[in-house]
């Protein structure tokens, strides 16, 4: 039996430490991992818990991220709670197996501490890895600060392992900006956190020796389509209600309110910025400054990136006249992914809002308040004109001549 870890009601944790404690409290059976900046401390903290008797599961220090996720898949199919962490290049190396995990309906929790993907090599936070995972069939939950990183891990285990879902879940936090920035985190006692997640209930477990199972069978054109359709169906229909249920339960337990779509100053907003990660809180601050000047500026934060809550987003944005989608990943040949999602969500809804796209913060470049003010000024002009007054896609915070497209 693992030692009890006495926590204060409020701890000063960075995002990595918050995630590590959530893993510890979940009493994960197998963690198989490989270190990579900036997610390494999650694994190191966990190893420390293990070295001091605070966890009693197995800890496999794999030879690569691909090996780590492969072990996670084998462990999960064997029948128990499994989690790991990675970033960036490691995420890219893992990618093949991410599709295996979701296709085999294995509830693994993966902490992705978002980081740019080279070349050029870069260790800082952007959303390239998160975007790379967006078609992999995983639930993707986004965090804005260390408190989120703690709470969303608890939610991820609970939702992912639900027998109506059985899909793996990624919990994303911004590299360094969240992962290495210590803030106040309100904690749950070990037993309360564990109870919130619930006992792991195995299904089709290989270790049930009286009921052998075959995992990872081959299907060609005869069955592959049906399998993928069922997987998509589970993501589309079951996940958001279960997440809402978990958010409601978490609120009842802690008073902390999370939403499928986070909205701030949005009730009567004319103009809105839609973004992810740490940018949400910066944008909220700027919207407050604009509100003080009488400008009806709001912020929409993506909390659940997959399944993408098209209807909820459209509903939050329905009264807006101008909207900016902020993408922290190089779009490499088209509009940003978030712009695309919003366009998809808003099209056919009767909205006449002007939608534009900003690429920002690549490789950990700070998103400044002045950049956000400038974006809101563009939005204000778009709202007044009723049409785009700028290019559809602009780069913000970039040195050199202004870069824009479309």
């Amino acid at each position: 039996m693992a030692e009890l870890f006495e926590l204060h009601d409020i701890e000063v944790w960075d995002g990595n430490m918050a995630a590590s404690h959530a893993l510890r409290q979940a009493q994960v059976d197998v963690v198989a991992a490989y270190p990579i900046t900036p997610s390494t401390p999650i694994v190191e903290n966990y190893a420390n818990f293990m070295a001091n008797g605070y966890v009693d599961g197995e800890f496999v220090m794999a030879e690569s991220e691909h090996g780590a996720m492969s072990c996670c898949i084998g462990a999960s199919a064997a029948g128990g709670r499994v989690a790991t962490a990675t970033s960036s290049q490691g995420f890219a190396l893992m990618l093949e197996t991410l599709y295996s995990a979701s296709g085999m309906r294995l509830p693994i929790v993966l902490n992705v501490v978002n980081r740019a993907i080279g070349a050029p090599l870069n260790v800082n936070g952007d959303h390239s890895d998160m975007y790379m995972g967006r078609d992999s069939g995983w639930i993707q939950i986004d965090c804005y600060n260390p408190q989120d990183a703690y709470d969303m891990n608890l939610v991820a285990f609970r939702v992912s392992e639900d027998h109506d879902i059985r899909l793996p879940a990624m919990v994303h936090q911004d590299g360094f900006m969240t992962s290495h920035t210590a803030q106040r985190v309100k904690t749950l006692a070990d037993d309360v956190a564990y109870k919130f997640i619930g006992e792991f209930k195995p299904m089709n477990d290989m270790l049930d020796l009286d009921h052998p199972v075959t995992h990872g069978a081959q299907t060609e054109e005869d069955w592959h389509f049906e399998h993928k359709a069922r997987q998509h169906h589970a993501l589309m229909s079951a996940v958001l209600p279960k997440i809402q249920e978990a958010f409601d339960a978490l609120k009842a337990l802690t008073g902390r309110q999370y939403n499928i779509v986070e909205s701030y100053n949005m009730d009567d907003a004319d103009i809105a910025i839609v973004c992810m990660g740490t940018s949400v809180e910066t944008a909220e601050e700027v919207s407050n400054e604009l509100r003080a000047q009488g400008i009806k500026a709001g912020v929409v934060g993506i909390r659940i990136f997959r399944p993408f809550p098209l209807e909820q987003i459209a509903d939050v944005l329905k009264g807006c006249k101008a909207i900016a989608a902020l993408d922290r990943s190089s779009p490499n040949g088209t509009v940003g992914a978030l712009f695309n999602e919003l366009a998809g969500a808003l099209f056919n809804t009767g909205t006449h809002a002007v939608l534009t796209n900003y690429i920002y913060g690549l490789g950990g470049r700070d998103l400044t308040k002045s950049s956000l003010h400038s974006i809101y000024r563009d939005l204000q002009a778009n709202a007044e004109a009723g049409c785009p007054t700028t290019s559809l896609q602009q780069f913000t915070g970039l040195r050199g001549p202004k870069l824009s497209f479309f």
Binding site: D29, V30, A32, D56, G57, E58, V60, M61, A62, E63, S64, H66, G67, S70, C71, C72, I73, G74, A75, S76, A77, A78, G79, G80, V82, E96, T97, S100, M104, D205, M206, L207, D208, L209, D210, P212, V213, T214, H215, G216, A217, Q218, T219, E220, W223, H227
Partner: protein, 317 residues
């Protein structure tokens, strides 16, 4: 309960099946012989993995399965890690008292072809062996990417014609020597590493059982003659295997704890390598004036390796 009968070939052939004959492997494929004998070498429950390859695509095509034991496939390179993960979960649940059948100790086995073992999956296997998972890895070594139509692997022997190293007007086929996977795996310090062949079935079963009795990672390199890519008649699988072991092209030996080497089969009459090569279509082009020198080189290499194995055995290193 399964019965591991190894007294004679007749009762061994009628032992219970956990690997069903209902599969899509080619007639004459040695894979099915080896896999069946691995599974029948123990009475314990089995947790199995297969890397992508002939065995995998021929035994688990939805909605069918040939496996009456828990089995998992993820990808080409990671059968070893799949079983290692399952083994880690077994240890965790045992420690936490959550096993459904706590009185039983399953065996963990991963199968992979030589492509999945010598090439694409090597790093994963190396990781599993270095970490010391209690598992057996069985390489079904048919010296070629057979599942995808006969491309060369790093196990393909020099002079073989493979689809990516075809023999032609100016080429004699594969240019590199077969990788010495046995030495590499033994160098991991694995407690048990053995080379087996299905024609020497008693030797094979004895080694598999020794492997199952060993704690820690066990590597078995099983020669698996491939009727399709080696180009011989399906009914000749065992005869070709005999030529391989009796010519010492495929010597049978084991290495314990990375150091102690035992030769387990010494042919009474060693036959020329030429006879082994001549029985297979993949070496046909060697029997021409311009390529014949390669057969002599083959013989010299096999003689040198046999000499080296005997010196290693004597040295008790």
């Amino acid at each position: 309960m399964f019965q591991a009968k190894t007294k004679n070939l007749k009762n061994f052939s009628t032992s219970a099946e956990r690997f069903e004959g209902a599969n899509l492997l080619c007639p004459g494929c040695a894979h099915s012989i080896i896999v069946r004998e691995v599974l029948n070498a123990t009475n314990d429950n089995l947790i199995l993995a297969a890397s992508t390859g002939c065995l995998e695509v021929c035994t688990a095509v939805y909605p069918h399965t040939s496996w009456d034991a828990s089995w998992i496939h993820i990808g080409f390179e990671n059968g070893s890690s799949a079983v290692a993960g399952a083994e880690a979960m077994y240890k965790a649940l045992k420690n936490k008292g959550r096993l459904k059948q706590p009185d039983r100790t399953p065996k963990f086995v991963a199968f992979g072809g030589d492509g999945a073992t010598y090439d694409i999956g090597f790093q994963w296997i190396s990781g599993c062996f270095e970490r010391g998972h209690d598992m057996m890895y069985v390489c079904l070594d048919n010296e070629v990417y057979a599942n995808t139509g006969g491309q060369r692997s790093s196990s393909t022997p020099i002079g073989a014609s493979a689809t990516t190293t075809p023999a032609g007007r100016i080429s004699y086929g594969e240019k590199q020597n077969k990788k010495d996977i046995m030495a590499i795996m033994a160098a991991h310090g694995a407690p048990y590493v053995a080379q087996v062949a299905p024609n020497k079935w008693k030797d094979m079963v004895a080694k598999i059982q020794k492997g199952f009795a060993t704690e820690g990672p066990v590597f078995i390199n099983a020669m698996s003659a491939c009727t399709t890519e080696w180009k011989f008649a399906p009914e000749d699988t065992i005869a070709i295997s005999d030529l391989a072991t009796d010519s010492l092209v495929f010597p049978l030996y084991e290495i314990i704890d990375g150091t102690k080497l035992n030769i387990t089969y010494r042919p009474k009459n060693v036959i020329p390598v030429r006879d082994y090569l001549g029985a297979q279509g993949r070496f046909k082009h060697l029997f021409t004036k311009q390529n014949e020198y390669l057969i002599d080189e083959w013989q010299a290499r096999v003689d040198a390796k046999w000499e080296q194995l005997q010196r290693r055995e004597e040295a008790c290193l």
